[in-house]
Symmetry: C2
Subunit: 343 residues, 2 copies
DNA sequence: TTGTATGCGTTATCAG
DNA sequence: CTGATAACGCATACAA
C-alpha cells in the first residue's frame, strides 16, 4: 500500500505555519526564526516528509540529474576503472543532491540521439562522457547545442585542450609513470624498462613520456632508452612477449613499468615475478595478484567532474579553469614469484 | 545557451489546436482525427518538442524510474555478470520508457536509508536488488513498506519462495549445469566431474544438484559420484587444487563442470587444457581464454524483471506468478592447451 | 472529436 | 520574519 506521501501542506498544518515557511526551512533555514524552525523540523521528522523530487524539478527547472553512458563491453580487465569511476560519481553526486541516470548507445550517432532524448525532455541537465577521441562528434554536438557536459579524459585535438567550452578532467599519466620509475629507483632498481602501447594513443604517449622524463633525469640518454622501451598492443600475452624481447635485448633491466595492468601481468609472467613490475589502473587483478600499480584516483576525478559541472552551471562567467588534471598515486606492493599463482 | 524548451502550448499554437489535443496525440493517438493528428505531429517535429519529464512525472505521480544499487566491489572476475545485467536493464527499460537511476550503499542498513530517501522523495517507483540472502532485512523492509521491488536471485528462505509479495527472477543453475553435462557427454565425454562451492550457498547447491541429476540419469550411482565432485571456495588457485585432487582420486574423469568461471579457469590450468571444462557465467575471461561456459542470459533476466515490475504496478490483482526462472544457455567452445596462454 | 478548467507539489514574488 | 498567490508543464474529468 504505497501510503500517500506527506506534502509541505501536511507539514505546515501539523506545525501550524504556512507552506511557504516550510519551504523556507528547507531551502533557506537562515531566514526563519529559531523556534519556528524547530517546530517545522519536528513536524518534518514526525511525518517523514521529503520534498517531492519531480515537483521540485519542475519548479526549479533543473533535473539535478546527470547522465552517464554505460558501455556495452563493461567487462575486461580495465573496464573496472570505469566501474569505479561510476561508483565514485554516484557517491559524490549524492552528497551534492545529484542523481546519476544511465543510458546506453550503440555508437556515436545513437548516443547523440540519446542526448536529444534526455536533454529535450529535461530529464537531465548534464552529461558525463567517459572517453573521447579526436574530432568526436558527440562533444561537437554538445557544444553546439549548449549542453552542459564534462569528459573524463582530455580532448586530444590540438586546439581543443584549451577550448573554454570543453570541460574535462583527466589523470596525469605522465606524472604517474614518472613517479613509478622514481619509486622503483629509490628502492634499488637502476635500469627501469617500459612497456607501452604503440604510439598514437594520446593516453599511451603521455605515459611513455613520463618514463622518458624520469629516466633522462636519472642520466640515461636517448640511445640507451631506445633499447629499454617496447611497444605492445593491449593483452596479457602481448605484454609477456614484449617483456621477453626487452630483457633479451637489454639484460641489465632490473625493473619494469607498463602502461596497463594487463601488460604488467604479462611482464610479470614473463619474468616469473623476479623483477619488480608496476602496472597502471590498479585494477582488482593487480590487487589480487599483488603487483604494484598506478592508481587513477577515480574518486578525485569524480569530485572534480562534479565541480566543473557546477561551474558550467554558473555560466561561463566564472573564468576559472575549465579542466583539471589529477595526479595519480603509485601503489607499491611487494610481490613474490608469480608462478606459484598460475601453476 | 540552453534555449527555452518548447511546451505543449507552443505546439498547440503552431498547430492551431488546443493544448489538450496535443496531449491526446501523445497519449491516446487513436481518439484524434487523422488530419489533426498529422498537423500536430508536424508541429512537434518542427519544434523538436518532447514532454517535460518532471512535469509528466508530477502529474502522473510515477517517477518512471527504477533504482539499482551499484556495488562498491564492481570488479572481480564475476562482477561482469552484474555489469551486463545492468546494461540490459537500462536498454530494456528505455524501450518501456523507464529510466535507471543508481545509488550506492555501504551495508544493508545504509541501503534501507537509501530506500527511504528515494521512495519518500518519489524519485523512484521501484527497486531492483541484485542479490539477496536469507532473512535479508532489505526485502523485509521493502515488503513492510509496500515498496515495489524485484530481486535478481530467488529468496532462499523456505517460505519466501512462494511469498506472493516477493517478486523475483532467477537463472535456473540446475538446468544449466545439467545441460552442460549432457552436452559434454554428447560430445564423447563419459565421466564428468564437478567442482562447486562448499555447500550452504543456495546458488551453488542448485548448480551441484544439476550435475548430480544429469550424472544419475547417465547411470552413475551415489557412491561413484562421491569421488567425482569436489568443493572449493571461489578462486583460481582453489579451483586448480580441487581439480588436481579430483583427478588424483578418480583418473577416469574426462571432463569437468565448474560452478563458476573462476573455478573453471583453475581447473583448466590444472589440466593444462587437455580436458574439456565448462564454467558458469560466460564472463569475458571465458570468452578470452576460450573455454565453454553457461551463460546466464542477463538480457532475458532484465526483461523478466521489468515484466514483473509492471505486474506489481497493476496491483496484486494479477494473480500471475510473482517470479520467473530463466533457463540459461550453454556456450560450447573448443579450447586448445591452455599453457600457451599463461606461460 | 475538441476545448476549458483544475490540480499534481514545489518555490518565487511580493505584500503584510 | 511570515503568509497569500501565482506559475512551472502536463494530463484528466468534464463540458461543448
Amino acid at each position: 500500500m504505497p501510503r500517500r506521501l506527506p506534502t509541505v501542506s501536511d507539514v505546515a498544518e501539523l506545525a501550524g505555519v504556512s507552506r511557504q515557511t516550510v519551504s523556507n526551512v528547507l531551502n533557506s533555514p537562515a531566514i526563519v526564526r529559531e523556534p519556528t524552525r524547530e517546530r517545522v523540523e519536528a513536524a518534518i521528522a514526525e511525518l517523514g516528509y521529503r520534498p517531492h523530487a519531480s515537483a521540485r524539478r519542475l519548479r526549479t527547472q533543473r533535473a539535478s540529474t546527470i547522465a552517464v553512458r554505460l558501455d556495452p563491453f563493461a567487462g575486461g580487465i580495465s573496464g573496472a576503472v570505469l566501474d569505479r569511476f561510476l561508483h565514485a560519481l554516484v557517491e559524490r553526486g549524492e552528497q551534492r543532491g545529484l542523481s546519476v541516470m544511465l543510458y546506453t548507445a550503440a555508437d556515436a550517432e545513437d548516443e547523440i540521439r540519446q542526448f536529444r532524448r534526455l536533454a529535450d525532455g529535461a530529464a537531465v541537465d548534464a552529461f558525463v562522457l567517459a572517453s573521447t577521441y579526436h574530432g568526436d562528434p558527440r562533444t561537437e554536438w554538445l557544444i553546439e547545442h549548449g549542453q552542459a557536459f564534462v569528459t573524463f579524459g582530455r580532448p586530444w585535438g590540438i586546439a581543443d585542450l584549451a577550448d573554454p567550452k570543453h570541460f574535462w578532467v583527466d589523470v596525469d599519466g605522465r606524472v604517474g609513470v614518472r613517479e613509478a620509475v622514481e619509486q622503483l629507483r629509490s628502492r634499488g632498481a637502476r635500469a627501469v624498462g617500459f612497456i607501452g602501447w604503440p604510439s598514437g594513443s594520446g593516453t599511451g604517449d603521455e605515459r611513455r613520456a613520463g618514463w622518458v622524463e624520469a629516466m633522462r633525469a636519472a642520466g640515461f640518454d636517448s640511445e640507451r632508452l631506445a633499447t629499454m622501451g617496447a611497444a605492445a598492443p593491449e593483452g596479457v600475452a602481448s605484454g609477456r612477449e614484449a617483456a621477453l624481447r626487452l630483457l633479451a635485448a637489454e639484460p641489465r633491466i632490473d625493473a619494469l613499468v607498463a602502461a596497463s595492468d594487463t601488460l604488467a601481468l604479462g611482464a610479470l609472467i614473463a619474468t616469473g615475478g623476479r623483477l619488480p613490475v608496476v602496472g597502471f589502473d590498479n585494477t582488482p587483478v593487480a590487487e589480487a595478484v599483488g603487483f604494484s600499480s598506478v592508481d587513477q584516483r577515480v574518486d578525485e576525478v569524480a569530485a572534480a567532474a562534479l565541480d566543473l559541472l557546477e561551474a558550467v552551471g554558473r555560466a561561463e562567467s566564472a573564468g576559472a579553469e575549465g579542466h583539471r588534471l589529477i595526479a595519480p598515486r603509485v601503489i607499491m606492493r611487494e610481490h613474490g614469484p608469480v608462478l606459484d599463482l598460475v601453476r
